[in-house]
Symmetry: D2
Subunit: 395 residues, 4 copies
């Protein structure tokens, strides 16, 4: 995991430790799923939760117990129980570039001056981790803070060859998240981007993934407000209630919120949130406003408030307000865990390239050719379950 000391990753790591100690699987979407009457793991070869081992990078080198105390996600008992294990996990030095994520910095930096040197360091970490832990499979999940987007049309991002040259030339349109994505793919390691950063969603890296037969998935975990949007919007369409406007505001106070306090990072986030509505509804919602504000008092307890204006029969207007008092990491961590299991399963099935069937997890699902993805949660769910059960990709 990139961003191992962040709230989502520490919550995932703690949760896996509690599961190994006999904790229950509440909140894990695939827990208890049966395929042909057998547990999904037995039927498909998907890895058990308790067999997962996590390592990763973070700009902050504190051990995960310290990180977890700071995030305040775990309750007192959970912290006490998982504490000893969390103390034993320390992030590896990370490849960062303050230019791309201004509000999150740290001193646990890999000593690598160029993009190419960073790639080499990340690959070395992957090789070492695989050997030390004697892993059967390996997936890299990006949980780092949101980066500023580079120009997606930058030449270095258009083909594998240009990207390779860019790494050598230390091209600044290659962002830290791309360094990790490239390293993973080149090393034959499945890659998942849970953040709004551009990462693997450029022609160069999609091409590389297809060439190496490595699964890639992304981007931006769909946890709170956007998840609700992809649930409500299909229903409004079903009932012929026209969405005249949709005003969304988010307030959150964790490290993610701080990163988004930088307008450049915020812009990345808004881009992945934007197109969801129009695509589901089949017409452009002219007044779709999305706000994200850093608001310290909440910490990890994000609040998402939506004001929706509908027009119904006889042109008459109605309103819906939704206030979601959620917990960012509690929603995200189980999705990150399932993504690791599913990407590994894709790897076992030999299915490389963009994993369309994982769209259920993302605000801006990647498609192999950049075409419009499916956004409605219930249709994404059907595609996902079909794939798990039968291997059908739903393309």
């Amino acid at each position: 995991m990139v961003g191992l000391g962040g709230a989502v990753a520490t919550t995932a790591v703690a949760g896996l430790d509690l599961l190994r100690a006999g904790g229950d699987t509440a909140g894990l979407p695939l827990a208890g799923l049966a395929v042909d009457g057998r547990p999904v793991e037995a039927a498909t070869g998907m890895v058990e939760y308790t067999d997962l081992v996590v390592g990763g990078w973070d700009l902050d080198g504190s051990d995960l117990r310290k990180a977890a105390e700071q995030h305040g996600v775990l309750d007192h008992h959970q912290l006490a129980q998982a504490g000893p294990y969390l103390s034993s996990v320390t992030p590896w030095p990370a490849a960062g570039d303050a230019d791309f994520c201004r509000n999150v910095t740290g001193g646990n930096v890999v000593l690598a001056e160029t993009r190419r040197a960073q790639v080499d360091a990340v690959r070395a970490d992957l090789v070492r981790f695989r050997e030390e832990e004697r892993l059967d499979g390996l997936v890299l999940v990006n949980l780092a803070s949101t980066e500023r987007w580079p120009d997606p049309a930058a030449p270095a991002l258009q083909s594998t060859e240009a990207f390779e040259a860019g790494l050598d030339a230390d091209d600044r349109s290659i962002t830290p998240s791309m360094v990790y994505a490239y390293a993973a793919i080149a090393e034959g390691v499945g890659y998942v981007n849970f953040t709004p950063s551009l990462a693997a969603d450029v022609p160069a890296l999609v091409e590389l993934a297809e060439r190496h037969g490595v699964p890639v998935a992304g981007k931006d975990g769909k946890t709170g407000q956007t998840m609700m949007k992809t649930v409500l919007a299909p229903a409004f369409r079903s009932r012929a209630l026209t969405v005249e406007g949709w005003y969304s505001t988010n307030i959150l106070g964790n490290r993610d919120g701080l990163a988004l306090d930088d307008p450049a990072s915020l812009q990345s986030k808004l881009q992945t949130k934007g197109s969801v509505l129009d695509s589901i509804l089949g017409y452009p919602v002219e007044d779709h406003v999305v706000r994200i504000d850093y608001y310290r008092p909440r910490g990890d307890q994000k609040e998402a408030w939506d004001a929706i204006d509908l027009v119904g029969f006889l042109g008459q207007r109605m309103q819906v307000k939704v206030d979601f008092l959620c917990r960012d990491s509690i929603l995200a961590a189980p999705l990150a865990i399932e993504l690791a299991r599913l990407t590994d399963l894709a790897q076992q099935r030999g299915q490389g390239g963009v994993q369309t069937q994982l769209g259920w997890f993302f605000k801006a699902p990647m498609t192999p050719d950049g075409s419009t993805p499916e956004h409605a949660l219930h249709r994404q769910e059907r595609v996902l379950l079909d794939w798990v059960t039968t291997g059908a990709t739903g393309r």
Copy 2:
């Protein structure tokens, strides 16, 4: 329509008049639906909106213009435009029984002392209307105020024979809504129950409908809060967010609200709302509370507020609040219209008995054998559209 002078029926009648005058089809779920590239009407024989003719009963004998003015649903321009037509429509004398719906009364009562005499009067109205308007098809839609439920296990409701005997004996377990349902079915007229009243949902009338090959559908139109519930609950299940409690309150100030101010009628309503959640989620929600309160200032502008308590990963708690500022009749009228068209289509297709494929419209969908129906809106939508397109019943 039974309850022709009510807010839903007058809104439907006005809306159809405005459509005939060239108004648009906003808010009508099947408007613009294409089957194999052709309009659904051309492809399936479904009747056009503009070919529908409406007549019906009401305890209040005022013409529909007066009724519409009182309901306050239409805006000034709509009232002015549809007014002349509405003035020309006057409800027929209705079969009522104050014992079953205490808060709604009126003087426009059919002169029929016994259940059997009421049945005969309703049948005579149906025959006369069909002839006068030279109708190709006829469907009776129950839009009356909510009745108190009789004991569903009453002997008169268990078989066609017992029911016939009950009519002759003027058995008080046969309610006014059953009088209409029986009359329709006996006359070969499709029957839709848009209210929470028990109506056709008893063995005697289901048996009769099957025997005569007449389609019946119900019960209780799913417009506001319950509709949202059947949208949100599948998503919570999909994301493994356990619903620990769901508190729902409704405030409304129209005639429906007044009817529900009678505890006996309220009980009927709560019964049809109750089981939705558990059935979708797959476990019993112990703390599912539903309140409905009559609150005059709102008139037809119903407000539904939900407070939902969720438990996610690591047993941590989250909350969702939904406030739906809706318009009762604006949501209901287009559904009533579509139900008339679809039930007529079933009649054309020769499909009698309980219409399972119409579950998308109802809070408590009838099933032929009383088994648990599908409640999730998106799955109901798929079943409905399949049936429209191919005639598949989804049973």
Copy 3:
């Protein structure tokens, strides 16, 4: 305190212990108040928080640590810190009568068969406590669950003499809360009723308090929704916004909520909540609806939702929604503590009878003659502060 094992009382006792250990005075309204440049305690003789000693009765005889664990109000650290002291406090056997509060029962009952014997037992407890703790002053605060109201016009409640006779005759119109109130007053102990129970708010006990020069105050602590009402309503009046309707719903899951699940107790509560609005606004709000529902998942975390309909200039309508996610005991406990200090101060000042200046604390402030009290929070605050500073009673 009556109801010593309840959530409010245990929170108050724990809070006082934490204050003695150096905790801060957050949430205590009079903390830090200065009178003529001196701390209020030094200037007026009001007792310090850290000099308060608490004892009391409860139908549940568990020690307060067990009680606090069950209520779940204190956080882990607070429970750990106050735990040893809480373990040392055990409620005395209480005088109860299941007929008046059906949903809260317990075995820690005083062995006294008649009203008179109960009075004697309570008085003996007061005398003993005063001696054992060498108290300079003593105040009895009723924090028990809400009782069903007796008929306030019952003869036994109309004069001191009739009440005395009623005690001897074991008259059932004398409720448990009146037993405590009588015992306190007869013993010269100030009496505060923080609950909606009728208690001292009957002519017999007001007369007794005046005769003995004992301060009495009540009733029903104003903590959540009603507090907000008495803040917002004066502002609506100030801005000439007419309140057309006010719909209030409360959901709570603690022992108080369970007590209110009994319709008879609920009725008491609704009575004290009802008249607030009309009195502040100066006109009757016809559509003022108040709902209280027991909803287990929340525990002590009460939620109060208000939907307010306003009419402004040109008769146009507006709405306000307020959702108060509060903590019942966290709001109530500091008020109970301040009431003890203020009632003791009244006692020191020799001011007996109904304490009008304490109206700021109550939903239904008692007045000496039953006249309409002031309800607006900001005016109540001025009266209170004037009295603390100067002793002016504001009558």
Copy 4:
């Protein structure tokens, strides 16, 4: 009125016409106020609503009927009734400067190239209007869209002499709103600034007002969210509930909202909203966030949503959410009318300079010396009513 064609002014003009036709005084705060048992007008000489005559400027030269149709504030009947009068009122050419309010433009511009020439044109309009209408008194109310603030420390704004020189030199730190304020004061006409623009709130114009004995009042009408803030914050302080954070968002779709879509104008607005909380609470709220977003679907129906984080006893946290579905002009127009009456009364009473007693109307009340004003609504109300009744200024 400046901004005569805006939603607030047209609503005020229509409302006064409806009052003259016998409409009721709902929503007018001083309507029905009695002083010593007599109507306030009789007791103090305050002008009657029906004696007010309105004229004014606007960049849009359309008559007010056209303006009112566009704003959509009046309902059908009100528009029909007030329509003939509204048609007869046409705004005078206005003094504008696109540099200060970029999103609101129009062709009805006074032909005056310099600040000095604009002043002369405005003064000429005032003289003409006073003569034509044979007015006993005259007050200029600024209801124009929000301007960008100039540097308040600009030399031209520091003294009357510097300002005069600035007018002659066409100094660009003198904004359009200052042109009107200066013209009014120089002409002996009371001045009210209902907008967030800086206008008369600079030393030069305060000095001028004092020298000429002309009353000035402002700034920024307190109608919706800030009004609620100044109601709730005093209550939180009263109950010792610490405000840890207060997140406020506003969505509105009228011309005001469009003006605020220009970041420079928005900045002015946020400045007048900012300090309210800290001043009432007595400590700085570090996390006080205020957002204003232009959101077309709402038109004049502003929505203000507040999420408030409180800390109470034992450091425990609570939340309040307030959703105010208000109507901007319906709230503002009656305040503008009362301000005209009260400023005229000050003029009658010979009370020049800053009118502190009118702080009840404003988000950022002017004080003569720039000191911190009173913000709590209930204390402002007392000051206002004292002044009306007795002439006491409350300074």
